[in-house]
C-alpha cells in the first residue's frame, strides 16, 4: 500500500500528462501481481465496494471526532476521503503493518454494511495519512486525482509496449485484477479470449463544430437526437446468447430497458440513440418524445408494465460496428451506412428505425435546414466524414456535432455552494432564479436552475469573492447571497417540471456571461421562460 499511496500522492501534484503516464507505467512494471492489477482497477474506476460509501466514512469519523468539527472540516476540504485521512486520530501504537493493496481490496470486499465501520477503522489504523488517503479514495471509487480511465489504460499500454486500442478491446471483458491482461502484455502470453462475450466497444465521439466549415462532398449530415446514446450488443450462441444495452460510459443498462434486450437476437454491435415514442422531436415523422419523457425511465433497476406501455423505448440507429460476427469498424462510414440501410430490414420495426441522413448539397443549405429545426425541438446536427472508419474516442476531423444555438435568459444568483475536487473551498455551484412577476411591485425570485460551468478560473475567483462578501444566510455548505448578481444563462431547452417550485427545468444550463453591469431587477421573468417551453 505504501508504494501505491506514494504513487497517488505524486500523481495529485503532477500536471504533465507525460509525467503521469511515466509514473503509472513505472509503478505497473515494478509492482508484483496482483497489487498492480488492483491499482490499475482503482486508477480506472474499476473497483466497487458496495458496503463502503462516503456515508460510511462520515459515520465512522463522527464516532471518532466531534460531529460539528467534522462537518466544518469536511466543508473546508471539499473531499470526504481527504478530510478523513487528515482528521483520523493516529493510534498510540506506532507499529502499523500496513496492508498490501490486495489485502486492502480483500478486506474492503468482505465488508458488509454492518461490519464496514469497524473494519474500515481497523484498516485506517494501520496506515499513515497518505496511506489513509489512498485507501479511502480507492474504497469509495472516484479518485479525482486527474487520472482518467483512458490515461490509466494508456499508461498500461506504454508500460508493456502494447497498443492501447487492443487494451481497450479486451478491457471490458475482463475483471480486476486483470490477470489475463498482465499475462498477455507483461509476460508475453496469449491475448485474452473475448470472442463470445457481449462486450462494450468504446464509442466514436464528435467534436463541436464551432468555426469549422466543411464540404458536403466529404461529410454526411444526420439529426442529433436528444435521447441517450446506446450500444446494443448481442453475442454468444444457444444458452450463452446474451443481449446487452450499454450507456455512453459503458455502463450496462439492460435492466432498465428490457424491451430492447428482447428486440435483438442477431449477433451484432449497433450504435444508436435510445428514445421514447412520441411526437415532440421532429413532429410525427420524428416520432420521439422529449428527453424529459425519457428521463422518467432512466436509472430504474426494474420497470413496471405500465411504464413499458406508456413510455416504450426504441433505438434510432446511427451505425453498425459488427454484424453476424463480421467486424465492420474498419470500413468507411459510407460502406457501413449502406450495410445499416440493408440490415435494418432484419430488425423489428417496433424497436428500431434508422437515423435519416439530412440531404444538403452545400454547407449553406445545411445551415438553413439547421436554423429551421428549432421548432422541431431537435438538438442539432451531426456531421460524419464519409470515408472515416469507426474509431474509438474523439478523433479530430472525423465527426462533428453542430448543436443549435442555445437559448439565453438573464437570471439572478440566489444561492452558492462550495465545489469539490479542483474547486474545493470555492463557491462554484450556483442556483439562480427569475422574477415571478414585476420585481418593482414586490415580485419574488423563484429558482429556475443550477449551473457550475461556463466561467473561467479568474471569473470563478471573482464570483467566489462576491459570494463571500454578500452572504446573507448560511445553510451548511450553502450560502444565500444578496440578490444582486445577474448571470446570462445558456441552456438547450426548457421543460415543465413538477419537481421544481418554478414549474420549470432547464436542460444543460451553464453560465454564458456574468453581467456585473446589469441591475438584478432587469433580469428575466418566469413568463419569458414559460414561453420557451416546447413540451
Amino acid at each position: 500500500m505504501e508504494r501505491f499511496a506514494a504513487l497517488i500522492d505524486t500523481l495529485v501534484y503532477t500536471r504533465s500528462r507525460n509525467t503521469k503516464l511515466a509514473l503509472i507505467a513505472e509503478y505497473l512494471r515494478e509492482t508484483p501481481d496482483p497489487d498492480r492489477g488492483w491499482a490499475l482497477a482503482a486508477l480506472s474506476d474499476g473497483l466497487d465496494f458496495p458496503a463502503v460509501k462516503s456515508s460510511t466514512i462520515r459515520n465512522l469519523l463522527k464516532e471518532r471526532v466531534d460531529p460539528i468539527l467534522w462537518t466544518l472540516s469536511r466543508d473546508f476540504v471539499g473531499d470526504t476521503a481527504e478530510c478523513a485521512s487528515l482528521l483520523w486520530p493516529a493510534p498510540e501504537d506506532e507499529t502499523r503493518h500496513p496492508p498490501s493493496v490486495a489485502e486492502a481490496v480483500e478486506a474492503l470486499s468482505a465488508m458488509t454494511r454492518k461490519t464496514a465501520i469497524g473494519e474500515l477503522g481497523r484498516l485506517l489504523d494501520r496506515l499513515d495519512p497518505s496511506g489513509r488517503y489512498a485507501l479511502l479514495k480507492m474504497a469509495t471509487g472516484a479518485m479525482r486525482i486527474g487520472v482518467s480511465a483512458r490515461l490509466a489504460k494508456t499508461a498500461f499500454a506504454q508500460a508493456f509496449d502494447v497498443s492501447v486500442d487492443e487494451v481497450e478491446e479486451y478491457w471490458h471483458g475482463l475483471a480486476p485484477p486483470y490477470p489475463e491482461l498482465f499475462d498477455w502484455a507483461a509476460k508475453g502470453g496469449d491475448p485474452p479470449d473475448t470472442e463470445n462475450l457481449p462486450l462494450f466497444r468504446p464509442f466514436m465521439l464528435a467534436h463541436p463544430l464551432e468555426e469549422t466549415v466543411v464540404s458536403m462532398d466529404d461529410y454526411a449530415a444526420e439529426w442529433k437526437w436528444d435521447g441517450i446514446r446506446v450500444q446494443l450488443v448481442h453475442a454468444g450462441v444457444g444458452e450463452d446468447a446474451e443481449t446487452r444495452v450499454y450507456s455512453r460510459s459503458g455502463d450496462d443498462i439492460s435492466a432498465t430497458f428490457p424491451e430492447m434486450v428482447d428486440a435483438l437476437d442477431i449477433q451484432a454491435v449497433l450504435d444508436g440513440e435510445l428514445l421514447v415514442r412520441g411526437t415532440h422531436q421532429g413532429g410525427e415523422e420524428g416520432g420521439a418524445a422529449s428527453f424529459n419523457a425519457l428521463q422518467q425511465r432512466l436509472g430504474r433497476k426494474t420497470v413496471s408494465k405500465k411504464m413499458l406501455r406508456e413510455a416504450p423505448a426504441f433505438v434510432r440507429l446511427y451505425d453498425v460496428l459488427q454484424w453476424r460476427g463480421e467486424d465492420l469498424r474498419a470500413l468507411p462510414w459510407s460502406k457501413r451506412r449502406a450495410r445499416l440501410e440493408k440490415l435494418i430490414g432484419e430488425l423489428p420495426e417496433t424497436h428500431f428505425d434508422l437515423s435519416r441522413v439530412v440531404e444538403a448539397k452545400t454547407f449553406e443549405e445545411l445551415a438553413a435546414i439547421r436554423e429551421s429545426s428549432r421548432g422541431d425541438a431537435i438538438e442539432g446536427l451531426m456531421l460524419k466524414r464519409r470515408d472515416s472508419p469507426y474509431i474509438a474516442g474523439r478523433k479530430t476531423g472525423l465527426w462533428y456535432k453542430w448543436k443549435r444555438d442555445p437559448l439565453l435568459v438573464d437570471c439572478v444568483l440566489m444561492y452558492a455552494q462550495r465545489g469539490s475536487g479542483k474547486r474545493s473551498s470555492f463557491f462554484s455551484d450556483y442556483t439562480f432564479g427569475c422574477w415571478d412577476g414585476d420585481p418593482d411591485k414586490g415580485a419574488d425570485l423563484l429558482p429556475v436552475g443550477k449551473a457550475y460551468s461556463g466561467f473561467t478560473d479568474e471569473e470563478l475567483k471573482k464570483i467566489d469573492r462576491h459570494v463571500r462578501q454578500n452572504t446573507i444566510n448560511r445553510f451548511g455548505p450553502v450560502r444565500e447571497t444578496e440578490k444582486e448578481l445577474v448571470f446570462e444563462v445558456a441552456f438547450d431547452s426548457i421543460h415543465a417540471s413538477k419537481r421544481h417550485k418554478s414549474g420549470l427545468a432547464m436542460r444543460f444550463p451553464r453560465i454564458h456571461r456574468i453581467r456585473w453591469d446589469k441591475p438584478a431587477h432587469e433580469a428575466d421573468r418566469i413568463e419569458t421562460l414559460l414561453a420557451m417551453v416546447r413540451d
Binding site: 495529485v12 501534484y13 503532477t14 500536471r15 460539528i68 466544518l72 472540516s73 487528515l86 474545493s424 473551498s425
Partner: protein, 343 residues
C-alpha cells in the same frame, strides 16, 4: 463601578481602547494605533501615531507610507518604538506591554492593562521555534484575543525539518532544474532561507526582486541568511540545481520563464490540503506556516487559561466549538479587512 472590560471594544475596523482613544491593528487610518506586526492586514499607513516594536516600525517604514504628508509635503507621522518586555502608559491610564508572538520579525502580542483587568491581543502567532524571531511567551490574562487562521483540526503542521528535507531531496534528485519556492515576502521567505542554512545548505539562494529589501532588513536586524543573489543578475544556467525564492503571486507568472525548468514549490500551511496545492499548480507542497496550527491554538488557550477568548479571524466557528466542548467562554469578533488566505 464600570462594567468589566467596558474599556475595550471590538469594532469592525479594529479593537478600540476607549480611555486611550487608541486602536489595535486598525484596518483604516486612525490618530493613534498599536500595531502587533508588519503584515498588511494588521499594519497600514496613515495613522497619526503608531506604537510598535522597532522591528515592526522598520518594516512598516519599508512597506507602507507610515505617515500622511501635509500641505508642505512633510510627514506628520509619529513612530513610537516599544521593545519586547517594555510597557508604555497610554492616555486614560491604560498600560500596553509588548510580548514576543513568534510570528515574524518584530511580531508582538500586546498586553493591555486597565483597572486591574488584563487583555492580550495576540495578533498572529505560532508556537514553533523560528530562527528569525524570539518565541511566543505565555502570559496570563483575563481576555485572550486569538487568531484562528488554521482553526480546524485538519491542520497540523509537520516539523519544519521534515519539510526542508523534502525540499533538499527534490533539489538533489533533479540537479538540472531549479526549485522555485513561493513564500510570503515578509517572514516566511526569510524563515525558509534561515532554516535551509540551519540544515546545512550553504549554496547561494536566488531571490525574486520583490524579496530583496525585506531580506536585507532581516539581515540588518541580525538574522543571517547566507549568500543571496538576485535572479535578474544571473543567467538561466547559473540557477540549475539551486533554490529560487519568490512571492506566491510570481509562481505561475511569466517571470518564472527565465528559470531553468522550475519545480514549483510553495511554503504555506494551506499546503496541508491537497486540493489547495493543486489549485495553485504546486508540484512540491511544503507545509510551513507562521501561524499556530490547531493543536497550538488550543494549547495556547489551555496554557493562558483566560476568563474568555475572543477569536478574531480565520476559521472561528471550529475554535468556538472547541471552547464549547471544553466549557470555556469564547466569542467570535467580526473584524473586517483581515485576509485569512495569506500565509
Amino acid at each position: 463601578m464600570a462594567q468589566p472590560f467596558s474599556w475595550i471594544k471590538p469594532e469592525p475596523h479594529g479593537i478600540h481602547i476607549l480611555p486611550a482613544d487608541s486602536w489595535v491593528d486598525p484596518s483604516r487610518a486612525v490618530p493613534h494605533a498599536l500595531v502587533t506586526h508588519g503584515h498588511a492586514d494588521h499594519a497600514r499607513g496613515g495613522h497619526g501615531e503608531t506604537v510598535a516594536t522597532p522591528e515592526t516600525l522598520a518594516i512598516m517604514e519599508l512597506r507602507y507610507r507610515t505617515g500622511a504628508e501635509d500641505d508642505l509635503g512633510e510627514i506628520s507621522h509619529k513612530a513610537v518604538p516599544v521593545a519586547y518586555g517594555e510597557t508604555i502608559r497610554l492616555k486614560g491610564g491604560v498600560d500596553a506591554t509588548y510580548i514576543p508572538a513568534g510570528h515574524v520579525l518584530g511580531s508582538a502580542q500586546i498586553l493591555l492593562e486597565h483597572a486591574g483587568e488584563k487583555v492580550i491581543v495576540t495578533g498572529d502567532y505560532k508556537r514553533r521555534p523560528d530562527p528569525t524571531c524570539p518565541p511566543f511567551q505565555v502570559t496570563p490574562c483575563d481576555i485572550l484575543v486569538t487568531e484562528a487562521t488554521f482553526g480546524l483540526p485538519i491542520f497540523t503542521h509537520p516539523p519544519i525539518e521534515d519539510e526542508i528535507a523534502k525540499l533538499l531531496k527534490r533539489l538533489a534528485d533533479e540537479p538540472d532544474r531549479c526549485v522555485l519556492v513561493g513564500a510570503y515576502a515578509l517572514g516566511k521567505a526569510q524563515r525558509v532561507i534561515a532554516e535551509l542554512r540551519r540544515a546545512g545548505h550553504v549554496a547561494p539562494i536566488y531571490l525574486h526582486g520583490a524579496m530583496e529589501k525585506m531580506c536585507r532588513l532581516y539581515e540588518e536586524h541580525g538574522v543571517d541568511l547566507g549568500e543571496l543573489r538576485l535572479v535578474s543578475d544571473y543567467k538561466k544556467d547559473d540557477m540549475r540545481g539551486h533554490i529560487v525564492v519568490c512571492p506566491p503571486s510570481a509562481l505561475n507568472d511569466r517571470w518564472s520563464r527565465r528559470l531553468p525548468e522550475p519545480i514549483t514549490a510553495m511554503a504555506s500551511g494551506w499546503m496541508r490540503v491537497r486540493q489547495r496545492a493543486r489549485q495553485r499548480n504546486v508540484e512540491l507542497p511544503l507545509i510551513i506556516s507562521d501561524h499556530a496550527d490547531w493543536d497550538e491554538l488550543i494549547r495556547t488557550v489551555e496554557e493562558v487559561n483566560p476568563y474568555e477568548s475572543w477569536i478574531t479571524h480565520g476559521r472561528e466557528e471550529a475554535l468556538l466549538r472547541w471552547h464549547q466542548l471544553t466549557q470555556r467562554r469564547a466569542r467570535a469578533l467580526a473584524l473586517v479587512g483581515y485576509d485569512d488566505e495569506d500565509d
